[in-house]
């Protein structure tokens, strides 16, 4: 700690992110999820349990809302009072949106959650003291608290079952908050491999567990500042910009928005964009056939 450091780097410590800020380089991890492809099958969620050592809490604790599914599949119905859901259901995989301006980060008293240089909202388990303020301030409620000490709880990881635990991922004890990490352990491996080869991570070098499992390939994960990446292309095609709280295409036509009467609407949107957390996950609207 030194005051001279503070004064020397004054401008660096006084900018607001992501609006009017320099973008992340060389990595900004982001996702896009096509809800038209998503079938709500839960494979991603189970894959997440397998990859990230999530505790199975059991019926009683689940009833008390202590479930640990970092990725949860939400199922919505039409709300127009029809007798039968004859347009099917709406599925939405919801996990940490890795906000660029995350509401959870500012409120943590010990700085256990931070914005990493590659645009992930990190969670430092051994720093966390369990004030749960982050979850209180999360609009998506996608943080999960270790209400009990699952490693020592009966039948969570009994003998043999514990051999499945992924050694690349910490097993969390009681009293710490956890959440989706964008499979940071996989990202780290990919970055290290790329570094050893003197290059940047290519698109496809790293897949998140949910993405890898997804039977309909609804989930895409990649580097949003790499023009070669699928995620970049999707965000571009959908005209969704990371640092906007309202996309230009969603504004009135006079402000550059897309007319719904014209060639059609683009499907990309982000949940609760208007709250300005600048989430890193873009969803593509589910489509329903109009001719039937």
């Amino acid at each position: 700690m030194s005051v001279s450091n503070l004064l020397e780097n004054w401008s660096d410590v006084r900018h607001t992110h992501p609006v009017d800020d320099v973008p992340h380089t060389p990595y900004k991890w982001a996702m896009s999820i096509d809800l038209d492809a998503c079938s709500g099958c839960n494979a991603c969620s189970v894959a997440c349990y397998a990859e990230n050592n999530l505790a199975v809490v059991g019926k009683e604790k689940y009833e008390h809302g202590h479930s640990m599914h970092w990725m949860r599949i939400e199922r919505y119905w039409d709300e127009d009072g029809r007798e039968f859901p004859d347009q099917g259901a709406q599925f939405l995989p919801m996990m940490c949106q890795q906000c660029e301006a995350a509401p959870c980060e500012t409120v943590c008293p010990v700085g256990a959650t931070n914005h990493t240089p590659d645009g992930i909202n990190s969670q430092i388990y051994n720093r966390c003291i369990g004030s749960r303020y982050c979850e209180a301030n999360c609009p998506y409620k996608v943080r999960y608290f270790n209400w009990y000490d699952y490693p020592t709880t009966d039948n969570v990881w009994p003998a043999e079952m514990n051999q499945q635990l992924n050694p690349d991922v910490t097993v969390r004890g009681k009293g710490v908050m956890e959440k989706c990490t964008f499979c940071i352990q996989r990202v780290t491996v990919a970055k290290n491999n790329a570094k050893n080869e003197g290059r940047l991570v290519h698109d496809g070098d790293v897949q998140t567990a949910c993405q890898q499992a997804c039977p309909t390939s609804a989930i895409h994960f990649g580097n949003l500042v790499d023009p070669e990446s699928k995620v970049y292309k999707q965000w571009q095609a959908q005209q969704v910009e990371l640092d906007k709280d309202e996309q230009t295409k969603d504004k009135g036509t006079e402000e550059g928005g897309v007319s719904p009467e014209g060639e059609g609407k683009l499907r990309g949107y982000r949940v609760f964009e208007e709250l300005r957390p600048y989430p890193s996950v873009m969803y593509l609207e589910r489509v329903r056939e109009s001719d039937i």
Binding site: N5, T16, P18, V19, A102, P117
Partner: protein, 176 residues
Amino acid sequence: MSKRHLLALFSNFDEAEAAVRELRGLSVKGFNADKDMIVKSPIEHPEVEEFLGDKPVYVQWFTLGGALAGGLLAFFLISGAQANFFSQIKGGKPVVPFPPNFVLTYEMFILGGVYITVLGFLICAGLPARRSPLYSAKVSEDQIGILVQADEAASSTLKAIFTKHQALEIQEEAGK
């Protein structure tokens, strides 16, 4: 030449005031009213300061120093810490954000002010103090005490003044 202490106790404040005024007017060798006289009272009498003459209080300077030091320390400590350890963005806010730092600066301003004020009080009031040679528990009850120290020679003059102003009791330090 040795000095002796005398403690006179009064129950009537006006009489005590009169005695003090007379002592201040007195010019006896071996007794300087400004230095050698201490008025003790069970309550805070603002009048005492008036008739004892202008005696400065320096506590407020401690207060000023403490408050400023606290505030500055807070701001630079916090901003410095943020610029080093927390050179990471949080919630999209600047690494050194002003509103939170001002809140903490404000709190430390007060904290420094209060702490140093109390320190100043102890220094200025000379606390913790050694107990004076003559003391009566009556002083903490309902009586005004005037403690003087004077040469042996002057003590009889003083005693006379006390008696004149209806001192209830005059205690005398045992001779040496």
